[in-house]
C-alpha cells in the first residue's frame, strides 16, 4: 500500500512536470522532432497577435476562444513556456480536485491516493500539459463544477459551466445530466445537500435491475423540471455563455463565431483519425452528404447520450464519465487529446467499481491500448510510409470503437451505481441510506 502523503505526491508531480517542460525546451532547440505540440505554437502565435492588438484569428488553425489567447499573452513578455506552466498547474489542480471530491464522499485515504496517482502519473496526462495542450484547464474546471454541485453551490457551478462551454463546446453534453441532477428533493433552498458516502460494502453490493425505478425517477424529474435550482442554473450558465460569446463577437466578429464555435459543430475532417467515420467522410467528400446521411451518422451519438443520461444522471460523476467516453467514441473526428476528457473522470469512478485490477482491469487497459496501437501502426504505414492502407486503417478504427464499447459496457456492468445525494430526513440515524 502506498503511504505517500498528498503533499509529497503533489511536490513530486510538480517537480516532474517542471523537469519535463525544461526538457521539452531543450528538445525543441536541439532536435528535429519537437517535444512541443504544434497546437501550442498556434496558441502562442494567436496570443502574440492579441498582445499586439490584433485578432487571434489571423493565425490560421486557431479555433479556440480568445480567452485562451488572452491567458497566453505572458508568453510574449515573460517566457515562451508560460502557457505550459499554466497547463501543467491546471493538471495539478485536477489531481487536487480528485482528492477533494473523493474525500468529501468519505473515500478512504489510500483509495484517494491511488486515484490521484492514476491521474498525476499517467504518462498520457503529464505529457499533454507539458507539451502545451490546453485540455487540463477544461478538466480542472469540469471537476470544480462537480465540487460546486456536490456542495450545493449552484450559482458558482452555473457560472463556471457557462464559461467552460464557451471555452470548449463539448461540455454541453453535461447540461441535461446536471439539470436532472438538480433534483428538488436534494437541492432545497438554504440547505446544503447531503452526500452519499462511500462505504466498504461497495464490493459486496449486488447490482439489481432497477430499470423501472430509474425510468420512474426520470419521469418525475422530467415532470418537475422547472425547479428553482434548475432554472437558476440554466439562466446563469446561459447568460455567462452568451455574455462571453457576445463580448468576443463584438471584438472579433464572424471570424470568431465561425472558428471558435461553428467550426466545431460542423467539423467533418476527411483526414485519417480514430473515428470510424473518417473513411466514409473521405470517400464521400467530393459530393456533399445529404441531410439524411448526416442525420443517420448523428443518430447513434444522440441515442447513446440520451440513454446514458437518463440511466445514470443521479450518479453524476459516473454519468459524466460514460457520456464522455461515448461522446468521444462516436464522434466524427477523434484525436488523442480528446482522451484526457474522460481520463480526468476515471479516478473519480474507480472507488465505486467492482472490477478488480487483476485481471479484468489490466485486460481492459491492454485491450484499449492494443486497439489504439493497432490503429497507430496502420496510420504510420499510411502517413509515413505512403502505403495505401485506408481499408486496414478504417478496420482498425472499427476495432477501436468495438474496444471502447466493450470496455464501457464492462465498466457499466461492474459499477456500483451510487447516487451522489441522499434525501434529508427528519430522523437522525447513523445508518446512511443512499436510495
Amino acid at each position: 500500500m502506498i503511504s505517500l502523503k498528498p503533499g509529497s505526491i503533489f511536490l513530486i508531480s510538480a517537480i516532474f512536470r517542471v523537469g519535463l517542460i525544461l526538457y521539452g525546451e531543450w528538445q525543441d532547440a536541439h532536435m528535429e522532432v519537437r517535444y512541443t505540440d504544434v497546437d501550442y505554437l498556434v496558441f502562442s502565435d494567436a496570443a502574440s497577435l492579441m498582445a499586439s492588438g490584433q485578432s487571434p484569428y489571423k493565425r490560421t488553425t486557431y479555433r479556440y476562444s480568445p480567452l485562451l489567447a488572452f491567458l497566453l499573452i505572458p508568453n510574449s513578455f515573460i517566457a515562451g513556456s508560460w502557457g505550459k506552466f499554466l497547463f501543467s498547474a491546471s493538471d495539478l489542480f485536477v489531481g487536487l480536485f480528485i482528492r477533494i471530491i473523493l474525500k468529501q464522499r468519505k473515500v478512504p485515504d489510500h483509495i484517494c491516493t491511488y486515484s490521484m496517482l492514476i491521474w498525476l502519473f499517467n504518462p498520457f496526462t503529464f505529457t499533454i500539459g507539458t507539451r502545451g495542450n490546453c485540455e487540463p484547464i477544461v478538466c480542472a474546471v469540469i471537476l470544480w463544477i462537480i465540487i460546486c454541485l456536490i456542495n450545493g453551490n449552484v450559482v458558482q457551478a452555473a457560472c463556471w459551466y457557462g464559461l467552460i462551454v464557451h471555452f470548449r463546446i463539448y461540455p454541453i453534453i453535461y447540461a441535461l445530466p446536471i439539470v436532472l441532477f438538480l433534483d428538488p428533493r436534494f437541492f432545497q433552498s438554504g440547505v446544503k445537500p447531503l452526500l452519499c458516502d462511500w462505504t466498504s460494502d461497495q464490493g459486496k453490493i449486488r447490482q439489481i435491475n432497477s430499470q423501472v425505478t430509474n425510468q420512474f425517477d426520470a419521469w418525475i424529474a422530467f415532470k418537475s423540471i422547472f425547479t428553482r435550482s434548475r432554472i437558476l442554473f440554466g439562466l446563469i450558465s446561459g447568460s455567462v455563455f452568451l455574455l462571453c460569446t457576445g463580448f468576443f463577437f463584438q471584438l472579433y466578429g464572424w471570424e470568431f463565431l465561425h472558428e471558435a464555435l461553428l467550426y466545431h459543430l460542423t467539423r467533418t475532417d476527411p483526414r485519417h483519425n480514430f473515428s470510424i467515420y473518417f473513411y466514409h467522410i473521405y470517400l464521400n467528400y467530393e459530393r456533399d452528404l445529404s441531410v439524411l446521411e448526416k442525420l443517420i451518422s448523428f443518430l447513434p451519438q444522440f441515442i447513446v447520450q440520451l440513454v446514458l443520461v437518463f440511466c445514470f444522471a443521479k450518479d453524476l460523476v459516473f454519468c459524466f464519465f460514460v457520456q464522455t467516453v461515448a461522446f468521444v467514441a462516436f464522434n466524427k473526428v477523434i484525436t488523442a487529446q480528446y482522451f484526457v476528457w474522460f481520463f480526468c473522470l476515471l479516478p473519480l469512478i474507480l472507488p465505486w467499481t467492482n472490477m478488480k485490477f487483476k485481471w479484468q482491469g489490466l485486460c481492459c487497459i491492454l485491450l484499449w491500448m492494443g486497439a489504439q496501437t493497432h490503429w497507430l501502426l496502420w496510420g504510420y504505414m499510411l502517413e509515413f510510409k505512403g502505403k495505401n492502407v485506408f481499408l486496414q486503417l478504417w478496420m482498425a478504427s472499427l476495432l477501436f470503437l468495438a474496444a471502447n464499447t466493450f470496455i464501457l459496457i464492462l465498466l457499466i456492468r461492474h459499477h456500483n451505481y451510487a447516487p451522489v445525494f441522499r434525501q434529508h430526513t427528519g430522523l437522525k440515524t447513523k445508518q446512511k441510506k443512499c436510495e
Binding site: Q211, L382, F390, A402
Partner: protein
C-alpha cells in the same frame, strides 16, 4: 541640401522601382538602410515577386505565371545588351529530388550560380540575392509556419508561401501555392569572373488528401523552380540596371520533374465502407443502450 532633397526623391523612386521589380534605379541612402516602421508593411509587399503575381491573378496557373514572368516582369528587367552575354551570372538547377517517404517529404534543390567570364567593373557596388520560386502542384502544400522556422535555421533572407495555404483541405477543395525563397548571394558578385556558388535548399512539403482513384494512388509531379537574381546598387543616384537570370540556355530541352506517389481512396470502397460503418455504429449503440438499461442498478442490498 539639394543633395538631401534629391535623396528623398530617389527614395520615393526606389519604392516605386522596387515595387515593379528590377526596373530602373535602386538608390540607396542612409534613410533607405534604416527600417522605418511605417514602411515595413510596404517593404514586405514589394520584396516578393509572388506577391505581385497574386495581386494580379487570383490563383496560380502555369500559363498565367509564365506569362507574368515573361512579359509583366520584363518591363522591370534591366537591359542586357548583346555584348554583355558573357557577363552577369547564370543560374541552373543541378539537382531536384524528393527526399523521404509518406505524406511528409523534402524537396531537395541544388542551385548553381556562376558568374560570367567577364566581370562588369563599371557597375556600382551592389548586393545581390538569388530568388527561387518553387511552384507546387495541386495536392501538395508547404506549411508557412514551418518555413518560418526553416528560414531562421538556414539564414535565408526571406521565405514565404503564396496561394492556398490552408493546411487541412483535400486537394480537390484547394488551390495551388508557391514558395519564394530569397538567398543572399553576396556583395559585388558581378565584379567577379567565373565564380561559382552552390545553394542547397530542403523544402519541407506535405501531401494533401487526393481525389479518389481506382489505382489507390495519385501521382503528382513537381517541376524545376524559377530562378532570378536581384541586385541592389548602392551609392549612386542615377538609374542602374539589375540582372534577370533565367535558367541555363541549354536547359530548355531539359525539363526535370520529380514524381510523388500519394495514396488515394478507392471509389469501389464507398458503398461497402458506408454500410459497414453504420452497422458497426448501430451495433455499438444497441449494446451500450442494452447494458445501460439492464445494469443501471440503484438500490443497495439491505444487509441482514
Amino acid at each position: 541640401m539639394s543633395t538631401r532633397k534629391c535623396c528623398r526623391l530617389c527614395l520615393n523612386q526606389k519604392l516605386v522601382i522596387l515595387w515593379m521589380f528590377f526596373s530602373g534605379a535602386i538608390v540607396s541612402s542612409s534613410e533607405v538602410e534604416t527600417n522605418r516602421p511605417s514602411d515595413s508593411r510596404n517593404s514586405d509587399d514589394w520584396k516578393y515577386i509572388l506577391r505581385s503575381y497574386f495581386d494580379r491573378y487570383e490563383n496560380l496557373h502555369d500559363s498565367s505565371f509564365e506569362h507574368f514572368m515573361a512579359h509583366e516582369l520584363s518591363s522591370s528587367l534591366c537591359q542586357v545588351t548583346p555584348e554583355n552575354r558573357n557577363r552577369g551570372v547564370r543560374l541552373s538547377v543541378r539537382e531536384l529530388s524528393l527526399v523521404g517517404e509518406g505524406s511528409h517529404r523534402q524537396l531537395s534543390l541544388s542551385i548553381g550560380l556562376q558568374t560570367g567570364a567577364e566581370s562588369i567593373p563599371e557597375l556600382p557596388s551592389h548586393v545581390c540575392e538569388v530568388i527561387i520560386i518553387q511552384r507546387l502542384p495541386l495536392g501538395v502544400f508547404a506549411d508557412p509556419f514551418e518555413l518560418q522556422s526553416l528560414q531562421k535555421r538556414m539564414g535565408f533572407r526571406n521565405m514565404a508561401v503564396f496561394g492556398d495555404t490552408n493546411l487541412e483541405l483535400p486537394s480537390f477543395r484547394s488551390n495551388r501555392s508557391a514558395v519564394e525563397v530569397h538567398i543572399d548571394a553576396g556583395s559585388d558578385i558581378l565584379f567577379m569572373q567565373n565564380r561559382g556558388m552552390e545553394i542547397n535548399i530542403q523544402l519541407p512539403l506535405h501531401a494533401r488528401y487526393q481525389p479518389l482513384d481506382e489505382s489507390g494512388y495519385s501521382i503528382i509531379e513537381i517541376g524545376e523552380p524559377d530562378m532570378l537574381m536581384r541586385c541592389s546598387m548602392e551609392g549612386k543616384q542615377h538609374k542602374q540596371s539589375c540582372l534577370f537570370m533565367s535558367p541555363d540556355d541549354n536547359a530548355k530541352s531539359r525539363i526535370s520533374t520529380v514524381e510523388w506517389k500519394i495514396p488515394a481512396g478507392k471509389n469501389a470502397h464507398a458503398g461497402f465502407v458506408s454500410v459497414v460503418t453504420f452497422i458497426t455504429a448501430s451495433l455499438s449503440t444497441v449494446s451500450i443502450v442494452y447494458a445501460s438499461m439492464f445494469w443501471s442498478g440503484t438500490q443497495n442490498m439491505k444487509q441482514p
